[in-house]
């Protein structure tokens, strides 16, 4: 009996909080409408695409491949990202580098973004810090699936 009463008390408390938020937000919203208090934001809803929230520094967004000073990709084609990728969306082909000091370089590097689950494992696995997910680009919808397959040029540029 007392337990059931407790539930009801919680429900009532919850609705009070909701109502308070509603009233406060509506108050500031109307104030803003009448140009009285414009600094404080009214409703909590963000007017996306016009308004955008700041992305956290630890976010994961579209991949990019880092380059060395000479413009070549930093990737050494070790294929650890291919190995670790849980959705098998990375494909790398290695080729012998003509430079005697360098072993191999990626002749193809493809990420199929239509399949990527943005887990960030590739970034963690990379021994050369060659792949990063810090571009801040989170909007890259395309009309066809083929356009979501990013190659080396697209990933560097």
């Amino acid at each position: 009996m007392i337990k059931a009463l407790g539930y009801f008390l919680e429900i009532i408390r919850g609705s009070i909080i909701t109502t308070r938020h509603f009233v406060v937000n509506m108050h500031f919203h109307f104030m803003k409408l009448f140009r009285i208090k414009t600094k404080r934001k009214g409703a909590v809803t963000i007017q996306y695409p016009e308004e955008k929230r700041e992305i956290a520094t630890r976010h994961r967004s579209l991949h990019r491949l880092m380059t060395n000073k000479d413009g070549k990709p930093r990737c050494v084609a070790c294929m650890l990202c291919v190995t670790v990728c849980p959705s098998e969306c990375i494909y790398v082909e290695a080729a012998e580098d003509p430079d005697l000091e360098v072993q191999k370089y990626p002749s193809t590097f493809i990420i199929d973004l239509s399949r990527c689950c943005f887990c960030g494992f590739c970034v963690e696995a990379c021994p050369e810090d060659a792949i990063r997910m810090d571009t801040g680009q989170i909007e890259f919808a395309e009309y066809s699936r083929e356009d979501l397959i990013y190659n080396l040029e697209k990933l560097i540029g």
């Binding site: 050494v76 070790c78 294929m79 290695a94 012998e96 005697l100 072993q103 191999k104």
Partner: protein, 519 residues
Amino acid sequence: MIKIFIDEKAIEVEKSTTILKAAEQAGIDIPHLCYHPAFPPEGTCRMCLVEIEGLPSLELACSTQVKDGMKVSTKSERVIEARKGVLEFLLAEHPPDCPICDKAGECSLQDYYEEYGQFENQFNEFKEKREKKVKIGKNLIRDMERCILCRRCVRFLKEVTKTQELGVFERGIHSEINILDGVLVDNNYSGNLAEICPVGAMTDSDFRFKTRTWFLKKGESICPLCSRGCSIFIEYHEGFSRFTLPKRVYRIRSRENHKVNGFWICDIGRYGYSYIDENRIDKIIVNNKEGGETITWEKMVILLAEKIKRLYYIKKTSRIALILNTWLSNEELFLINKIFRNDLSVENIYFTDPPEGEEDDLLLTSERSPNKRGAREIGLDLKPINLETLADKTDLLLIFGSFMFDQFNLAEIKSALDNIKMKIIFATHSNEMNSLVDIVLPMSLIAEKEGSLTNVDGIVQRFSPVLMAQGECQPEWKVLVNLAKELEINFRYYSQFSSPEAILDEMGKKISFFEKKSE
């Protein structure tokens, strides 16, 4: 037999075995890098140190022979400490470039580091800089930074091929494995060097950077490229779900088999794997018919059986001719012999094989097909083709394989085949031969089917499929069994053959050579 104790486990071994071999028999793993079972112990790497009760210093397991009542411990604190020390010195010059090293994943040094290493670097000095890629052989690239000077390669060339192209030059920290006067390692067994190198110092330019070792699956098979029939591992990539790979098979490695090839295989077998993936056909092709009409295997077999039956009823089976090859397994040749020679009394059975090549005194034989001995033991006469008589006497021609090309040119074959009413080829690859015949049937390769082969010494070796047959490809034995059943001459006899194993059992009963040899 003497009794010794390794890690307090009593083991009975032969008298002159070494501790390492005795431990191997008992299932205890002692780390080793320079020791290879094919060569006498060398003791250069010092990884196999073990503690023997009563002896003040640690001893090498690879070269110390067992004594009665010897008590060996392989996991004591002193031994582990010694292993760590040895590893630290090995890694003093060995670069930690596993991500770009081809050996990563199957490297002994990498495995031992995971188990005994993971220490802080105590060296103040930088690692010595050396040549990273130098071509020292036909397919070999040497990386001197990674070399741990185990001398396996030197010993291989000294003891197995006896060519001695490689040696250790200079001394101390400057010592390096090198060739003399720029003479490259160019013998038919050089591919084994990359395989026995315990680290990534010797890499195979054929496999180099194509993929990583952990993507590959391996299956046991038999090399069909000469009549030695070496035991091999076929290493293949299963592919990614979203990306198509250029090929399935990435490399061939040797499989230990002391009856046939020991530890090694030749370069012809090692690098000649491209036929498995290149130019294959995977559909039944019916020429001389409008439109791409498709036909199923069941219909195809019925059609073929009807053609043969028609000739059989008018007693004209002598107008059937067969062109075989010795890439066919024992079972398939036995079935052909049974169906066509015994049941249908076909006499025109010819053989075409790849032309003979070089041979050497180690493994490679001159016969470039795996089952010549088997065909002879079954009782088939390896008659070469006579194109003129073939053209005159034949109404129905069954061709297995396209090795006719090695003997005759296209025009000769075309003019001979034009006179024959019905020509069917059992082919694995697409080539010009396929346009000359009426029906092309896609066949599985030895890597994709089950069966057995008889090698040049008369050893019958069974093999099982490693790769999946692609498309409509079927093994010859299956088609032949279905055909024999459809012919209805001896239905009950052929319906017992549900697998090549059953055929081999039957062969053992019929042919004394195959008795008890079906292993």
